[in-house]
Each structure stands twice: as structure tokens, then as C-alpha cells.
Amino acid sequence: MALYSDVIRERFRRPRFRGTLEAPDAVFEDVNPLCGDRIRVECRVADGRIADARFTGDSCAIAAAAADVLIELALGRTVEGAHALGVPDVLERLEADIRPARMKCVALPIDVLHGALDGKEVAR
């Protein structure tokens, strides 16, 4: 498997869920202490399900691709179901050989989504 898989390249070049929402219900952003990258996730929740979600952030290709597939996985799930999504789910979709040093890039969007669903305050 390649470090930068076709999925990562494609999602980095043409993300499907990069952007912001009007009047989101849940918002969180956080920083990857390794590199200082910041990812922000916004969600709209309706009837206990993730009705819509978007991400923004200045990040590496791995974190951006991870955020993009994560949102795709989360859409339509219940809040609990989205909360249950973890690194293995995203890794499976990325089809890439992510080295230990870059695993935080995959985990960051997941932690941020969880933070949004938990109603965490953004640190400044």
C-alpha cells in the first residue's frame, strides 16, 4: 500500500465535504500538537441523526482526506453511531499505509467530530 493512496490524493484534490454550514448545531475545532494543524467540523443534527456536516482547516493531505471520508461515514448516522466511528473505520476507507508518526493526522478529525457532538468548548 502506498503512503499517499489514490483515495487520499483524490479526497485531498477534490474534497466532497470541505466547507461550512449555515446555523450548525454542533461545532468544534482543535489542533494537532504534532504540527499545529487546525481542523474544524460543523454538524447539523435532526431527529437525533447527522443531517449534514462539513469541515474546514489548513492541514496536510492525510488529515484533510481523513476528515472528508469521516464526514461521509457520519452522514445519516445517529449521534451515537457517529460517535462510535473511530480510526479503524477511517483507515479502512483511506486504503493507505499510514505510519505511526502520521496516525494523529487521521485521529484529529475524529476527535474534533466527537468534540462537536459532545458540545466541547473551543480553546483559544
Binding site: 503512503l3 499517499y4 504540527c35 499545529g36 496536510c60 492525510i62 502520521r102 493526522c105
Partner: protein, 405 residues
């Protein structure tokens, strides 16, 4: 023959194949590689002389003590300190800054100021933030002008009778900017402040004369100057060190101990509690001998050539932005750059696939990144063993990066 071509064979690690390519190691500013003489000095010490120092009344202990103190003498001569008590061994630059900050802390009063610069490595920023917060003192930062350098006028303007200590890098670990540290020291002294210079990026690359420079403290690490990890140096002016209370206690740093008090040892041991990094000191001694044999003036000239070559090669690549001074004579052996549309970590990972090791990210200088308006950079850095061919392989790989993601 060029210095890099002549010295390469002395560095065993440079024969490694990484991801199918011969290693191009361009991350010496983070940690340099070690010549065989350093590796052999350390293993030779462990094989033949290892024992604790100073109070061992047996042959090995005496030999270990001799080797340890001989290392101190070699550092003293290498940096131009006047006397042996001015050379304190630490675990590295970070510890050196912390030892001074902790010793200064009890003397700070609310309203006092500590002057730093926006280009500091976190190691020369966080310890000052911590003692300022603790003591109600204020941290003041000299701005980085045009993303490149410090202005003496700013230093002069921000110093005052409230400034207790000014702490700044000799050479920026990102921009490579060589700061006018002698003049900055004079200005700080005129204002009545003490001065600490972070020399982590300078000592491996230029001839140093700390006595002539005049700073009260000068700190650096062994592992960036061909020596081992786990050892560094805190140089301190003897009269200043005599006035400071040690912040850390333990064995070695005392002369006589009663149950409720103790008398401190003489300098430099007063600031070296516990068993010191003995084998590491022996390794550092070997590194200094290696650098001395090359001659630091020649080392500087060699690295300036590489810096010039790298600046020219990278600037010629479309989409590449280079940070810091463009004049190699104003610059240490480090070139920070970005490739348009490419995150630094992706750039470094792609270069690693071609066997090229360079640094990427904020380089522990987040305030500087914020000032530059970027999240990070790629950074190539050089040492005595770096060759023009290394720089050319980097440039050719960087040229191909834009199409890789």
C-alpha cells in the same frame, strides 16, 4: 575536495539506504549525525573506564573523573570561556535555559520584564513565560521585521530599567538569521539587564568567543554539534553565577551537609546536581576534537556555500517560497521553504520516500509561524558532512513535488 565529500566517510550512518535510496540527511539542525570517533569514544569509555565521577577512590573513578573534567576543558577552549568554573554541563539547551530561569525566578518582582524575540525556539520562550506568570513579571518580545530579522532600534526601544534579563537566539532555527548578539548584549547591559543567548544553532557552525561576546549566559546542546544526545552546556560568567542560588539540589552540588542545611559546592559543580552525563561528556569532547581538526572557520565557509547553493536552487523552482535572509553570509546552515499547495508534512513524507530526510512543521517556533502567517515550513539544514550532491538531490526532488499529490 569539498569538506562534505572529504568527511562523509567518517559518518557511518551516511551509508544507509532509506526507502531504496542512499540517505540524504538534511536535518542536522534538529540533530546532527556522529562521526565514528565520537561513537568509539563513548563505547570505549563504557568498555574501559566507566565509573561515577568525583568521589570514587579507585582507578576507574579517577579515570572517569579525569575524562569528564577534560571534556569541560575542551568546551572551555572551544567556546572561548575564560575559566573552567564557567562551563556547566547540562542535559541540553532546554535544561540550560531552565536552570537560569529557575535561578532567576525568586529575584523577579511584579512589574519586572523579561525580553525575548518573536523568533525564539519554544525552549527559549516557555521557561520565561513560566517564571513571568509565577512572579507577575511581563514578557516582552522583539518583533521580527519583514519576516527576516530583528532591528536594534526595536531592542533598544523595548529595553528599560524594568528589564531583568534578555534572552535571544544567536541564530534562528527556522530563518537562519544570524542575530547581532554582541550589540544586543551591549544594549541589554546598558539597560542593566542580564543576557542569555541560545546558541543551539550557532555553536555547531561558527567560531565562538563567549568572553568577547559578553553575554552572561550562553547555552547549547551536544547532539547538534556531532556529539551525543543527553548533554549540553550552560556557560555563565563567573561573577554572575556566583550571585545565583542553584534551583536544583542533590549530590555533587554541595560541600558539606547537615540535617537542616547545606553549604553549596564551588562552581561549576554547584549547578550540576546528581550523576552527570559522563559518557556523553566524553563523546562531546571527541566531537569538539573533530570540529577543531576541521577548523570552525572552514566549517562556516563550507556551510555558507551549501546555503547559497540551496537558496539558488530552490528559488529557481516555480511555486517555492524561501523564508529568512537571502544573503548566505547573514544566514546559518538552514533553509526554510514551502511549496505552493503542499502541506510541509506531506512534502517531507514524499521526500522521505526518496531517501531525503528534512524537517517539516512549526520547528518549535509557533509565535514565529504566526508572525509569518503560516502553519509550518519545510526545512533543510546542513553540517560538515553535507555535500553539494545532497543539495542537488533535494532540489531535484522538490522540483517534482508539486505534481505528486
Amino acid at each position: 575536495m569539498n569538506m562534505g565529500d572529504a568527511t562523509r566517510a567518517d559518518f557511518p550512518i551516511l551509508t544507509r539506504i532509506v526507502n531504496g535510496y542512499p540517505l540524504v540527511y538534511l536535518d542536522s539542525a534538529a540533530s546532527s549525525q556522529k562521526p565514528a570517533s565520537v561513537i568509539e569514544a563513548i563505547s570505549g569509555f563504557y568498555e574501559q573506564q566507566n565509573a561515577n565521577v568525583h568521589r570514587s577512590i579507585h582507578t576507574l573513578g579517577e579515570e572517569a573523573t579525569e575524562r569528564y573534567e577534560a571534556a569541560r576543558d575542551s568546551v572551555r577552549a572551544f567556546i572561548g570561556a575564560r575559566a573552567r568554573p564557567e562551563v556547566i554541563f547540562t542535559r541540553g539547551t532546554t535544561e540550560g535555559v531552565n536552570v537560569v530561569a529557575r535561578a532567576m525566578a525568586p529575584t523577579l518582582r511584579p512589574g519586572d520584564e523579561v525580553l525575548v524575540t518573536e523568533m525564539e525556539h519554544h525552549s527559549n520562550l516557555i521557561p520565561w513565560q513560566m517564571i513571568c506568570r509565577e512572579r507577575g513579571a511581563r514578557l516582552v518580545a522583539v518583533p521580527v521585521r519583514d519576516g527576516v530579522s530583528l532591528e536594534l532600534a526595536d531592542v533598544e526601544r523595548l529595553l528599560s530599567e524594568r528589564t531583568r534579563i534578555a534572552a535571544f537566539a544567536h541564530i534562528s532555527n527556522v530563518l537562519g538569521t544570524i542575530n547581532p548578539v554582541a550589540r544586543m548584549t551591549e544594549l541589554a547591559h546598558d539597560a542593566g539587564a542580564l543576557v542569555l543567548v541560545d546558541g543551539a544553532q550557532a555553536v555547531p557552525h561558527l567560531a565562538l568567543d563567549v568572553a568577547a561576546l559578553g553575554a552572561d549566559f550562553y547555552v547549547f546542546s551536544g547532539h547538534k554539534m556531532l556529539g551525543p544526545t543527553g548533554i549540553g552546556v550552560l556557560y555563565g560568567r563567573r561573577d554572575v553565577l556566583e550571585r545565583l542560588e542553584p534551583a536544583w539540589g542533590g549530590s555533587e552540588m554541595i560541600k558539606e551537609v547537615w540535617i537542616d542545611h547545606a553549604q553549596w559546592n564551588d562552581l561549576p559543580w554547584r549547578f550540576e546536581p546528581g550523576t552527570p552525563p559522563i559518557a556523553e561528556a566524553v563523546g562531546l569532547h571527541a566531537a569538539i576534537e573533530y570540529l577543531d581538526k576541521l577548523g570552525m572557520t572552514r566549517v562556516t565557509a563550507h556551510e555558507q556555500e551549501l546555503t547559497a547553493l540551496c537558496l539558488d536552487a530552490l528559488a529557481a523552482i516555480p511555486g517555492v517560497t524561501v523564508y529568512g535572509p537571502r544573503n548566505p553570509e547573514m544566514k546559518g546552515a538552514v533553509v526554510a521553504f514551502n511549496v505552493a499547495g503542499l502541506h510541509p508534512h506531506d512534502g517531507a513524507a514524499l521526500l522521505d520516500q526518496r531517501g531525503i530526510a528534512i524537517r517539516a512543521g512549526h520547528h518549535c517556533a509557533q509565535p514565529l509561524m504566526k508572525r509569518l502567517g503560516i502553519s509550518g515550513t519545510l526545512r533543510a539544514s546542513f553540517s560538515v558532512y553535507t555535500t553539494a550532491a545532497d543539495v542537488e538531490r533535494l532540489a531535484s526532488a522538490v522540483g517534482a513535488l508539486a505534481n505528486e499529490l
